[in-house]
């Protein structure tokens, strides 16, 4: 019986992230449009985009291999599993024990690994330029993220995200220098990993200015739908991650009952909306960086993460 309710809660969580992810992106786009005094498409536009893409035919480049066709599903699955591991409205879910923070980094790394390979598959310069820049960004963002997670793990005494979230929610840890550094660094990494301004521009259609979009330029139809959906999920994942660790307000503890779950879910939606609003505000107020400024930006995140970890090695009370 317990197992069944576990599975149900976990299933609800997995469906919830799937359902909310396009909405979040639509919401961010809407706010961005309103901030520059445009009407903007409806918040449900991403759903319509996905459905339209699913109905379209796939145009595959002549020399695209099986890897190119498999990649959308692999990346989507890896991101979805990673998203299922991040507590959204409740902690202590069934999947949480199978993998920890380090595994989440690696799962996202797998998704990126296959996407970068798919960018190389067709053999055009666009794919190559996108892939090579993507791996450069990843080479800095991934260690930064690991160090940020070290920071959290040292504070909470565990690399299990659920335990970390519980710890942050339950005890009065107060203001900590190391966690402050970690949250700033994590936001920087999240911007880079989700190809947001100032690292990359999700809305651009000039091939040379984009990284992520250049890499997936050859995709169309249902394949593109999977990749877009993966990207929506990834944005949701990062926001959930930041929210559950640094803003564990009203998050339900495992087994707390349906009411607490409902409260948790409500709080979660509020958190998503707030994060989406601030993301839109930030993106509207900033310009995109030159590509070789990004290493400095991410280098700063890496250093913040390292500094936070070092402080915690010096004393647990930082």
């Amino acid at each position: 019986m317990v197992v069944i309710s576990d599975i149900v809660v976990q299933g609800v969580q997995m469906l919830l992230v799937l359902l909310l992810a396009p909405l979040l992106t639509g919401f961010v786009r809407k706010i961005k449009a309103r901030l520059v005094l445009r009407q903007g498409p409806a918040v449900f536009q991403p759903y319509r985009d996905l459905l339209r893409l699913l109905r379209k035919e796939v145009v595959l480049a002549d020399n695209a291999s099986w890897l190119f066709r498999v990649t959308p599903y692999v990346t989507f699955a890896a991101i979805w599993v990673a998203a299922a591991l991040v507590p959204t409205f409740a902690t202590g879910l069934l999947f949480n024990w199978s993998a920890d923070l380090i595994a989440i980094v690696a799962l996202l790394g797998s998704a990126r690994f296959f996407l970068a390979l798919a960018g190389m598959d067709v053999g055009t310069s666009f794919g190559g330029i996108g892939s090579s820049r993507e791996v450069m960004i990843a080479a800095l963002a991934e260690p930064a993220m690991l160090l940020i997670f070290f920071c959290m793990a040292l504070v909470a005494g565990s690399t299990q995200l659920s335990t970390v979230a519980d710890f942050m929610a339950s005890s009065h840890i107060g203001l900590r220098v190391s966690l402050g550094m970690a949250v700033i660094a994590l936001i920087m990494v999240a911007l880079a990993e989700n190809a947001r301004i100032p690292v990359d521009n999700p809305a651009t259609h000039l091939e040379l200015t984009m990284v992520h979009e250049a890499m997936v330029l050859e995709y169309s139809g249902r394949h593109l739908a999977m990749i877009e959906f993966g990207a929506f999920l990834k944005l949701l994942l990062y926001i959930s991650l930041i929210a559950c660790v640094f803003l564990p307000w009203k998050i339900a503890v495992f087994g707390a009952g349906p009411l607490a779950y409902a409260v948790g879910a409500g709080a979660y939606v509020v958190k998503l909306a707030a994060a989406g609003f601030f993301l839109a505000l930030f993106e509207t107020a900033t310009a995109k960086m030159r590509i070789f400024r990004i290493p400095q930006f991410l280098g700063a995140a890496l250093m913040l993460g390292l500094l936070g970890t070092l402080l915690l090695f010096v004393s647990r009370s930082f």
């Binding site: 480049a61 699955a77 799962l107 055009t124 090579s132 390292l306 090695f313």
Partner: protein
Amino acid sequence: MSPVVLQMSCVAGLLGIAGLAIVLSRAKSSTAIIYGLTMAVSLVALFGSVRSLLGGVPNGSELILPIGLPWLGAHFRLDALASFFLVVVNLGGASASLYGLGYGHHDPAPHRVLPFFPAFLAGMNLVVLSDDAFSYLLCWEFMSLASWALVMAHHRERGNAKAGYVYLVMASFGTLALLLAFGLLAGPAGDYGFAAIRAAGHTPYAATSVLILMLLGAGSKAGLLPLHVWLPLAHPAAPSHVSALMSGVMTKVAIYGFIRVIFDLLGQPIWWASVVVLILGGITAVMGILYAMMEKDLKRLLAYSTIENVGVIFASLGLALAFQANGLKLAAALAFTAALFHVLNHSFFKSLLFFGAGAVLMSTGERDMDRLGGLIHRMPLTSFVVLVGCVAISALPPFNGFVSEWLMFQAVLQSPELPQWALKITVPAVGALLALAAALAAACFVKAFGVTFLGRPRSTAAETAREVDRYALTAMFVLAGLCLLAGILPGLVIDALSPITTEILGGRMPIQANVPWLSIVPIAESRSSYNGLLVMLFIAISASLAVFVIHRFASHALRRGPAWGCGFSDPTPAAQYSAGSFAQPIRRVFGTLVFHARDHVEMPAPGDIRPARLRIELHDLVWEGMYQPIAGAVGFSADRLNRLQFLTIRRYLSLVFATLVTLLLVLAIWS
């Protein structure tokens, strides 16, 4: 038959096969016979070593042969640590022999490879088995020389003579360091048996010197910076299955030597020894993978990636030393297990990748990635297994590379317990270096796989490539399967490694077999756990769910068309991203500092129809800053001394007289 006798008979068998290979030499069927026999013997040895690792080694598994030093004899012994490394050696040996059954037929000069191949394997087995300093050094030299002969197998190819020369010089240097290390260990009593060395106490001064000498001796064989220079020259020069053995296995034998001396023979370590090992390991890891990133020769890229992995292993060993010195047995066992796990993993995937590079070499004759491409269409099976190897070495779940990396990071997270300030600063910094190396490794293998196997073929050789033979494919599929198995059932491996940690460190990780659902739990479940099997299942289920939904509800239409080129399609495959251009962003970020990398663009004047050219300037600072001055100094003094060769007899006589007088004077003053 006692386990050690079984292993020694296998070694004798391998040496016998080497003799047979000399006899058969140019016979037509020699390739099949020699590799077949070698594989059979390696499999027996593998079976024996797996059994003694899992079932425990009975006491008295020793063998003393009446050869070697007259008063000492040659001691051989099998314990848990040796059994584990014998598993690594013989698994590599068996898979390389299987691969050789197919690959060997393509060898232009099989008689230059066949005798040395089993001899090399025998040498590695012997190093691991030997139990006194004299036989250890002798076997070490035997192993080095056999591998040197294999490096020189294709001695007429460009660069191979230099590779062999540099290897020989560095191997001699390494052995000299080992010789001195064992001299210090034996002490004034001069007992060279490992049992006696273990029993004797060692002064801090001697222990320090031994550590430094072992880092020089074993480190040069394993490829620690800055002693790595021979490795990317020599490993790729050998035939590919031998490259796999050198990179996947011989570096591990060197690591075995380091563990045996530093952890086992020296006894309780001093804490600051770990700082040295940690820093060296971290720097080696990052530098190795940066070198690999800059490389466009597939086999050299793999050799540089070996250096990275050796760095990772040494960093874990450094952590284990730090914990052990402070009496934190559980954490030490964790770090040590991570190192051994990575030893095993690296032997799997590096052999696999070298086999893959050999398969590419076999069917295209090319190692230069800028002349390959599009092989995924021509060699689908090879591409698939190499992709598995690339995913595994990039430390991505659910494969094995991730598990050892994960264990290592868990060990890093245990280290705030360490009391020393130097360690409190060093460990997080090295942790950051390791994280950087892991991320760069993924980038590097996207490049290696993407440029070699994806895209459009860049040469006719790549266009006409054919799938390799079934022996080579079987060998690669077996290794790929092992990569996956070790990744999804890590608990079994960790439990199999626990006798070693008990034997060497006196502590062990919790028994993983008791953890439900095949998870692994290094310390306690509330701290961290990982379940490779479940992660794989989850990915498989969600991917199939996505595929099912898509194929149920979405359009099935699919059309092939030309790639989108924004109105100007690339005229030639040469316009694709190459190895050099793929590395450009990372070269800009890291290379300007580490390699003094500069891009020079030669742009012709307007109206001039010459093509524009891009030249990349890279400097290997270790080679230029350390080895070239030494080589220059040696050359300079050799030139000066050369004059002594052309003197008149009168001058020679006066020189002899002067030497005699000087020596007598010295003697007189001395006494």
